[in-house]
């Protein structure tokens, strides 16, 4: 049943992060609102990937890293070109 406990903790963590991101939107943090929201979203995505999707094993991680690299290129080159 430790697996169930792990999933429950992951789930509660995700809900807490959702509450945090919504709460933060009621405070004006200057330019940091967007950065904070995106950072929280990234933590949530990592939680889902590790706890729910069991992102283990070399090959799946390589695929994720490759997708991440292409997204970095897509966003990076577009923003540099502006």
């Amino acid at each position: 049943m430790s697996e169930l406990r792990k999933l429950t903790f992951g789930y509660l963590g995700l809900l807490a992060l959702l509450a945090l991101t919504v709460a933060s939107s009621f405070f004006d943090l200057g330019g940091f609102n967007v950065a904070l929201n995106l950072a929280i979203a990234a933590v949530k995505a990592a939680l889902i990937a590790m706890m729910f999707m069991h992102l283990t094993g070399t090959l799946p991680r390589l695929v994720v890293a490759a997708a991440g690299l292409w997204l970095v290129l897509l966003f990076g080159l577009t923003l540099i070109g502006r």
Binding site: T8, G10, S25, V34, N37, L38, K44, A49, G57, A67
Partner: protein, 211 residues
């Protein structure tokens, strides 16, 4: 009773590993699709930030927050289905899958309520509908709502696809042997969690612009 679904694999374990890798490659390609539309949104947001922030305030934060919680819960029940399938508790697995698809339907219903509200307020520049907007910079606000409808409907289409696959899986449940069941649950689970991750990014990007 065990076996592979495809003759290409000697053992269920090999089929399982190939399946998992293929799902991750598929998810990677899906990330490119959503990445492209997120990039368009980002550029437009940089160019007309104040118009986007004003337009974003017309979306329903309570409904969006509720829907995010619903989708996170559906991911939890999907992860539960996988854990139960690993323990070969099949009846409970089917219940968890059914709960997941019901939560998915709940998300779509709430999304539909949001859409109908926005359409009645004249905020939907889609399907030839008239766009009426009293706030500042209506031209860029219209672009915001165009992107909002494009992104959320693309996400909703993915959710509908997931619900159909879960329904098909439950329909074919009796004819599938334990190994088939396990790797089907794992494959649809990966897809479902990915669709959840997409929403996890879409929600702050669309609903929480400098509120």
């Amino acid at each position: 009773m065990s076996g592979t679904e495809s003759v290409a694999f000697d053992t269920p374990q090999r089929e399982q590993r190939a399946d998992t890798l293929a799902m991750w490659v598929f998810i990677g390609s899906e990330a490119m699709l959503f990445g492209g539309i997120f990039l368009v949104f980002l550029i437009a947001h940089i160019d007309s930030g104040t118009a986007f922030a004003a337009a974003s305030k017309h979306l329903s934060l309570p409904l969006g927050t509720f829907n995010t919680a619903v989708l996170i819960t559906s991911s939890f029940t999907m992860a539960l289905a996988h854990t139960l399938a690993l323990q070969r508790r099949w009846r409970a697995t089917v219940w968890a899958l059914a709960a997941t698809s019901l939560l998915g339907i709940c998300f779509l219903v709430v999304k539909g309520i949001e859409y109908s509200r926005e359409i009645s307020e004249g905020l939907a520049p889609v399907l030839g509908l008239q766009f009426r907007y009293a706030g500042p910079d209506p031209k860029h606000a219209e672009f915001f709502f165009g992107l909002y409808f494009a992104m959320t409907s693309l996400h909703a289409l993915h959710l509908i696809g997931g619900i159909i696959v879960i329904a098909g899986m439950i329909a074919l449940w009796r004819t599938a042997n334990p190994d088939n069941r396990l790797h089907r649950v794992e494959a649809i689970g990966l897809y479902w969690h990915f669709v959840d991750v997409v929403w996890v990014f879409m929600f702050p990007v669309l609903y929480l612009i400098n509120r």
